[in-house]
């Protein structure tokens, strides 16, 4: 869908923003570009809609070289969301959203009708459409930014740190909304962030950039966390890389046993069989339980097992009916095995220097042989 072929960008002041980038972003799905500031991720994004022109190399969107298209028309066919939203302060929210349809000549009535529809899509009330951007909260403004980008239903959406300026609670909400929207719309999204947690949450693929515009690795989050290409990636993923990996792994495969019967602890259930609380028969006190489904993560299982007075987590099916329990040791073993596999793979990859060649998604992945550092970074994050 979007192809970078040997793309190079050097700014007039001599700094190289993007260095020999070759990368294929398949249709559909979210690709997150991450890296510290100055790593060329935003420049890479902005070259897709020609907000920045490459120095050399070719970028194709849907097979067509972007530099051979009229820049304004190209941009109208690609959704673009930026940090701070960049809304037009002199236009109402509705007219902001209608921007691209109006540029495309849909006519005011049709453009506004489409904009009104989108207010609902991004979770804003019809009333918000009549307001001006400064009358909305930061999170609401960001929603308007997303609605504006979606207005002409472009197949590609570029998002440049769109949630960077809102508080953590709102940010999580917006991330959830985006995931929900994406499930509905199935756009090809390129998303820039410096927040690795955001990348892991949103990305179907994550491309990690290093200062100087080098792409180091591009892989699905599970693979990235399990097998970082080199010490730089491992370091960037952070000491809690192992935990992040646990957060992406479901617990469906974990064995479960029957709930304890007749001991000190009793698992209270409602008539439908939904677990409610642990009852301590010695003291006659109750501790509420948070039952987990197969799609819940190993990390939440670990968390629940620590919180549970029995060390057991209650497992339920899709309808919330109890299916069994899993004990702390099983969860711990599983987590530990995942963790160890991940660090061993890192070591193997660094030793053999083969990951880059094996991994079709990571061309130009420079593998620095700093295996010891990488493993140490992993060890530091292990659950003690």
């Amino acid at each position: 869908m979007i192809q970078f072929q040997a793309v190079h960008k050097q700014f007039p002041n001599g700094t190289t923003a993007v260095h020999d980038l070759s990368l294929d972003l398949p249709e559909g799905g979210v690709t997150v570009l991450v890296g510290s500031s100055g790593c060329g991720k935003t420049t890479t994004l902005r070259m897709i809609n020609r907000m920045v022109e490459p120095t050399s190399g070719t970028i194709r969107v849907a097979g067509k070289d972007v530099t051979e298209q009229d820049a304004a028309e190209l941009r109208r066919s690609i959704g673009y969301v930026i940090q701070q939203a960049g809304l037009f302060p002199h236009r109402t929210v509705l007219d902001n959203i209608a921007t691209v349809p109006l540029l495309l000549g849909w006519g005011r009535r049709k453009a506004r009708a489409r904009a009104a529809e989108l207010l609902d899509t991004v979770g804003l009330t019809a009333d918000a459409g009549k307001r001006y951007p400064h009358q909305l909260s930061g999170g609401q403004q960001q929603r308007v930014g997303v609605a504006r980008a979606l207005a002409a239903d472009p197949p590609v959406l570029l998002m440049d740190e769109p949630f960077g300026a809102v508080d953590p609670v709102v940010r999580t909400q917006l991330q959830d909304e985006l995931l929900r929207l994406q499930q509905e719309l199935g756009k090809t999204i390129v998303f820039v962030t410096h927040d690795i947690d955001e990348a892991v949450r949103l990305g179907d693929r994550i491309a990690v950039f290093r200062t100087g515009g080098h792409l180091v690795q591009c892989a699905p989050p599970e693979e990235l966390l399990a097998r970082p290409a080199d010490a730089f990636v491992a370091d960037f993923l952070g000491a809690e890389r192992g935990l992040k990996l646990l957060s992406l792994t479901g617990i469906a495969a974990l064995p479960q046993g029957a709930a304890p019967d007749g001991g000190r602890w009793e698992l209270l259930r409602d008539p439908a069989g939904k677990p409610l609380a642990w009852r301590d028969t010695d003291t006659d006190t109750e501790t509420p339980v948070r039952p987990l489904k197969g799609t819940d993560s190993l990390l939440s299982a670990l968390n629940e097992s620590v919180a549970s007075p029995t060390g057991l987590i209650a497992r339920v099916d899709e309808d919330g009916v109890l299916t069994g329990v899993t004990d702390r040791d099983t969860i711990h073993d599983h987590a530990n095995r995942l963790h160890v596999t991940a660090s061993r793979d890192t070591l193997a990859a660094d030793d053999a220097d083969t990951l880059a060649a094996d991994d079709a998604d990571a061309p130009a992945a420079a593998v620095a042989v700093e295996a010891v550092e990488a493993v140490e970074a992993t060890k530091g994050g292990g659950p003690a």
Binding site: N49, A72, Y80, I82, A85, F88, P89, T99
Partner: protein, 223 residues
């Protein structure tokens, strides 16, 4: 002093002063006509310059410095200079008034354009607006409050300075000032000066009110 004020009051309110071909009414209209024409011509010159340097971000240094230079020119000197070159006509007066008004309009237009949020301009371009669409649909409307302020400033300065038309024997409220000086009629000089001042202040208030009404939707930060 008191006596002077009473005379001034009498002069300003005397019905004979307000009628006739050299009455205050006619002089006021002449004055407004000179001022309006000079401001319109100045705007026609200064607005495109200010918008262009504001949009491109280029030539700002040169334009701002030329404007400061223009502002420092002595107006009466300019009138005399052009008068010597072109002979007796309204041209020297208009040249001087336009030269006075251009800097205020250029600098304010540029300041208004420069104050438009970079993110907003970036978003406008990123949504697929062409340069003229960015300029006329986004930058110009956002810069408008400051551009209006520039026009207001220019108009006030021109109104106050248009008295020099009388210096080269034309009309306007300056007539009273220069005639009064020639006739050593202090009341008439004062009367002319007061009329000019009142006209300037009234116009300023009127435009400020219009501006407030026009931009009442704006966020405080951008207005």
């Amino acid at each position: 002093m008191y006596e002077l004020l009473v005379d001034l009051g009498g002069w300003l309110t005397g019905p004979e002063q307000w009628s006739g071909s050299d009455g205050i009414g006619v002089r006021l209209l002449e004055h407004l006509q000179y001022s309006a024409l000079a401001t319109v011509v100045a705007a026609a010159i200064a607005l495109p310059i200010g918008l262009l340097i504001g949009h491109t971000g280029r030539g700002a240094f040169l334009a701002i410095n030329l404007s400061s230079f223009g502002r420092a020119l002595p107006t009466v000197g300019l009138v005399v200079l052009v008068f010597l070159a072109s002979g007796l006509s309204m041209t020297p007066v208009y040249v001087a008034l336009v030269a006075l008004a251009v800097p205020a309009i250029v600098t304010n237009t540029y300041a208004g354009m420069a104050a438009v949020d970079r993110d907003v301009k970036d978003a406008a371009r990123g949504q697929g607006m062409r340069w003229h669409q960015v300029l006329f649909q986004v930058e110009l409307p956002l810069a408008l409050p400051l551009i209006m302020t520039g026009l207001r400033l220019a108009l006030i300065q021109v109104v106050a300075t248009a008295t020099i038309a009388a210096y080269v024997s034309f009309g306007g409220l300056g007539r009273y000032v220069f005639d009064g000086l020639a006739q050593r009629d202090l009341v008439q000089v004062l009367g002319g000066a007061v009329l000019v001042a009142v006209l300037a202040v009234a116009l300023d208030l009127l435009l400020a009110g219009a501006q407030r009404l026009l931009f009442r939707h704006r966020a405080p930060a951008t207005a």
